[in-house]
């Protein structure tokens, strides 16, 4: 990535889990835009009929991989912290939510690649529900007035 002289700032840096959430979101943004660009180009100049099978993955990458994951990463970073450790709440639950979300997205790619495999779609959706449930349980007590 970009290299600019004079690094060394540490203020406002983010926690490790947010870095994982947000960098994963950036990867899915790049993947989602790549598939989107291909699909749009295919509308103008048809390249291959199978190209439309990429549409569910495009939607998954942009909606879940990029938008939802970025929001979760930023929320973990900026929601109010507790005065005592662990200051960002239940860490194993928050990490579980990251893992489940990305397993869910990976499984959803499998739906496109292996359409004959039964149960994959259900497994992907269950993993994603588990992810947002874990995240909601983690974030709930952090939505509080300052100093509480």
């Amino acid at each position: 990535m970009l290299r600019i002289a004079g690094r060394g700032l540490k203020k406002n840096d983010m926690p490790r889990l947010s870095v994982w959430f947000i960098r994963s979101a950036l990867i899915y943004l790049a993947l989602g835009f790549t598939l989107g660009g291909l699909l749009l180009a295919n509308k103008g100049w048809p390249l291959a009929s199978w190209m439309w099978s990429l549409l569910p993955s495009h939607i998954e990458f942009v909606m879940i991989g990029w938008t939802l994951q970025l929001v979760m990463g930023v929320a973990f970073w900026i929601l109010p912290r507790f005065s005592r450790e662990p200051r960002r709440g239940n860490m194993p639950l928050a990490w579980a939510s990251y893992g489940l979300l990305n397993v869910g997205i990976a499984l959803s790619i499998g739906i496109t690649l292996f359409p004959g495999v039964t149960g994959l779609a259900l497994l992907a959706r269950l993993a994603q529900v588990g992810a947002v449930l874990a995240f909601a349980i983690h974030a709930w007590p952090r939505v509080k007035p300052a100093g509480a």
Binding site: K11, M14, R23, L26, L29, L70
Partner: protein, 139 residues
């Protein structure tokens, strides 16, 4: 708020208004000649909302509020940020025109504009990722 963020966010607000205005247009009854064009507005509406509004607002806020890259270049490469802004908005504008027109009467011009739109938006996304990656960093 830096100028690029103001452009991103104001542009995202315009996209939001335009997206919901298209939803109004889609509720009408239209003659058969232009019905395909109105139907082609569905993906335009959706992308104005998700790319023009949601993603563009995120781009603007990320450029503004993410951890600083360095003392000399706190927001990374400003030039790359502006490239991302213009590619995204030119690409989206091309789509708004070309997608309904292509549905009405396909031709080489609309095809070329759709391909250009896809390419521009793709490059905008990559430029944003390249500029933001190093600002996502741990304590």
């Amino acid at each position: 708020m830096p100028p690029l963020t103001r452009w991103f966010i104001k542009s995202s607000l315009l996209c939001l208004v335009l997206a919901l205005t298209l939803r109004v247009l889609q509720t009408g009854e239209y003659p058969d000649q232009i019905a395909p064009m109105i139907s082609a507005l569905s993906p335009v509406y959706f992308h104005l909302f998700m790319v023009g509004w949601v993603t563009q607002a995120i781009f603007g806020v990320v450029f503004w509020m993410f951890p600083k890259y360095s003392l000399s270049a706190p927001r990374g490469s400003e030039r790359l940020g502006w490239i991302s802004f213009w590619l995204l908005n030119v690409g989206l504008s091309l789509r708004i025109v070309a997608e309904p027109m292509n549905a009405l009467q396909s031709g080489w011009l609309w095809s070329a504009l759709l391909v250009s739109s896809g390419l521009a938006q793709w490059l905008a996304g990559l430029a944003f990722v390249a500029n933001s990656w190093s600002r996502v960093k741990e304590k």
